[in-house]
């Protein structure tokens, strides 16, 4: 993927750039707000990674300018601020996701992937399908190999999230934020417990496993190769 990284901290920028390139992406680096604005407006990127606190120009101001200029590239905001309102403020300014520093690199990677392949907003999806697993979003039903599976509401939400991100890594933090709306880390691993119950309903007894654990990162739904 072609990524734009707008980050003023030289060392952090260098680290991220190297790590992202190692993961197979092309990274253009802007260490100043104005530079980043010009780069974003001029070239097409798959995802823009924008630091919120930049020296002479506030990250949110850059974001708003971009959105006002009709640049629709998905933006991931990086910040040291994790106040309750800061997240909402960032999303309101036009960010698509918000990650608090410091973060695990796998978290960044997973979220970039999640942002890059969003369906365009006009498309309304009513059915999700992975292999022989089918979810009807209108009827709220789930079937595998045409056999109906009964799910609890949370399990349904969990499965929907996995299927919408099929083929990409979904981290525990993404699930806590997206499904439970928790902006804190509970000590108990509720994601794991709900996931294991979901797996026992979706995967157990079927020849091919669809929900996979990605060690060190999270989970991924895909058809086994």
């Amino acid at each position: 993927m072609k990524l734009l990284l707008v980050e003023d901290d030289h060392e952090a920028a260098a680290y991220l750039r190297r790590a992202l390139e190692e993961a197979g992406h092309t990274v253009e680096l802007a260490e100043e707000g104005r530079e980043g604005l010009l780069a974003a407006a001029g070239n097409p990127f798959d995802v823009i990674i924008l630091d919120r606190m930049l020296p002479e120009m506030d990250g949110l101001a850059i974001l708003r300018t971009l959105r006002a200029a009709r640049v629709r590239t998905p933006v991931l905001l990086l910040t040291a601020l994790d106040g309750i309102d800061d997240r909402v403020e960032g999303l309101d300014a036009g960010a698509d996701d918000y990650l608090v520093k410091p973060f695990a690199f796998v978290e960044l990677l997973a979220r970039i992937h999640a942002l890059a392949r969003r369906p365009p907003p006009q498309e309304v999806v009513t059915v999700l399908q992975v292999g022989d697993l089918r979810m009807d979003l209108l009827k709220r039903t789930v079937t595998r190999a045409s056999v109906r599976i009964e799910l609890q509401p949370r399990e349904f939400q969990l499965l929907e999230f996995l299927m919408r991100h099929a083929g990409r890594v979904v981290t525990r933090t993404m699930l806590l934020e997206g499904i439970w709306n928790f902006n804190f880390e509970p000590q108990t691993n509720i994601v794991e417990t709900h996931m294991s119950r979901l797996r026992s309903k979706i995967d157990r007894g079927y020849p091919r496993e669809l929900i996979h654990t990605v060690r060190g990162s999270g989970y991924m739904m895909h058809e086994p190769a």
């Binding site: 040291a80 106040g83 309750i84 520093k101 410091p102 695990a104 417990t193 119950r197």
Partner: protein, 445 residues
């Protein structure tokens, strides 16, 4: 409603009472001096009439006296007379039967069948005759009463006007004060942009409102600089921690052997623990600042606690605990759903963490008049009373829990959220176990 004990009504009341008392006193003085003047005039008339009659006696003796008497007492409003012998035996005139001492006196008697009070001037005519000159004093009384009545009416009128004016005045003042205190309440609740409306005019209340507004501007500036400092601290601490984390990540990736990698990943976990504690402390300060109140919405505490119970029941079961939710009626409060959820989760995790496998944790909500509460109770070993109060302190850990994971901030967060919602969190003996109860006030409308 009368401005319920309002200062302005009390003030108006004091002024009115003062003026009314002044009017009453003045009325009394006016009545007394009027009375005195009337009596003086009355007596002077009696004396004048008497002198005329005495002249007659001096010129022509008793016949002369009687002739003058007839002339003077002829007209309406004329004085009444009485002639007696030197010893007091009645001779002539309506007053002849009175037994009065020499000089001016008042006597009550019956005149033409009606009881009257008379003022009588009695004079001794050389020992041979006594002459009584008098008149009904009733007219004096009537006039005095009229004066008193006028002042009484003034008194009553003043009182009435005073009450009405006081009421109207206090209402007007109360409305302005209510505007000020209403704006102040909104500001206390977290709406820091509010200002008090300043009316045209340069009176005390307008100046007060303007001063309060200037104070709020100053507070706004201070809070902005505090926010700036907090975010600077966050940035300054997080940036090196971020670099530290990245360095460790890179080292872990490049580690030569699995043992080294495991060590470095352990260090990474420690760094994350520091960051989690740091984030929790910042979050508690943010909650305590109170600005979150502006975003409160109606929340059903029952539904919120039920959701937490359902989410955590599987994890609890896996760890060998039982998590139960006791259904009850809806419990509506004004609050922040995310913070209340975090608070409930903290209480549940606290109970799960500090009770042995096999324990039961029970969640419930209750509604009482004027309050709604939630309870998280366990049947574990409990906490001795001496230590219970300290559990809400930041970083406080029980001796026996020192080695268990957790920063000791969970309950501090619970209390901060409870207080933000104007409620209170309390721990008590679950008999057995520990019972945590958070009570919220509910506006009774």
């Amino acid at each position: 409603m009368l401005g319920g004990g309002s200062t302005s009504f009390r003030l108006a009341g004091i002024y009115t009472a003062g003026f009314s008392i002044a009017v009453a006193v003045l009325g009394l003085i006016a009545m007394l001096s009027t009375r005195a003047a009337l009596i003086q005039e009355f007596d002077a008339r009696l004396r004048a009439d008497q002198v005329t009659v005495i002249d007659g006696y001096n010129k022509s003796g008793l016949p002369g006296l009687l002739r003058e008497l007839g002339e003077v007492s002829g007209g309406p409003g004329a004085s009444l007379f009485g002639v007696q012998s030197g010893a007091g035996a009645p001779i002539e005139g309506p007053l002849k039967g009175l037994a009065t001492p020499v000089g001016m006196s008042e006597v009550r008697t019956s005149l033409m069948g009606k009881p009257e009070t008379l003022r009588v001037l009695t004079v001794d005519l050389g020992g041979r005759y006594r002459l009584l000159t008098g008149d009904k004093a009733g007219r004096i009384e009537a006039l005095s009463r009229k004066v008193l009545l006028s002042f009484g009416l003034a008194f009553g009128g003043l009182l009435l006007i005073g009450i009405i004016a006081g009421f109207a005045l206090s209402r007007a003042v109360q409305r302005r004060l209510d505007a000020i205190s209403g704006a102040a309440e909104a500001i206390i609740d977290g709406d820091l942009g509010r200002r008090i409306p300043v009316q045209r005019g340069d009176d005390d209340l307008s100046r007060l409102a303007a001063t309060i507004n200037r104070m709020l501007d100053r507070i706004g500036v201070l809070m902005d600089s505090l926010r700036q400092v907090t975010s600077d601290i966050a940035h300054d601490l997080r940036t090196p921690l971020s670099r530290l984390r990245q360095r460790l990540e890179r080292s872990a990736r490049q580690a030569a052997n699995p043992a080294d990698r495991a060590e470095i990943e352990g260090a990474l976990r420690d760094v994350d623990a520091i960051l989690a504690t740091f984030a929790a402390v910042l979050r508690i300060s943010e909650v305590e600042a109170g600005a979150r109140r502006a975003a409160f919405r109606p929340i059903d505490l029952q539904a919120l606690v039920r959701a937490v119970a359902e989410d955590f029941a599987p994890a609890a079961e896996d760890a060998g605990h039982r998590l139960e939710f006791q259904a009850g009626p809806s419990a509506w409060i004004e609050g922040d759903a995310e913070l209340l959820t975090q608070m409930t989760v903290n209480l549940v995790e606290n109970a799960l963490r500090h009770t042995p496998s096999g324990s039961t944790v029970r969640l419930s909500t209750a509604v009482e008049p004027g309050a709604a509460s939630l309870v998280v109770a366990d049947n574990g070993p409990g906490v001795p009373e001496a230590e219970r109060a300290r559990l809400f302190d930041r970083f406080y850990r029980l001796e026996r829990s020192r080695s268990t994971p957790g920063s000791g901030l969970g309950l501090a967060m619970v209390q901060a959220v409870a207080r933000l919602h104007r409620g209170e969190a309390r721990l008590s003996d679950g008999m057995p176990g520990l019972k945590a109860k958070v009570t919220f006030p509910v506006a009774t409308s």
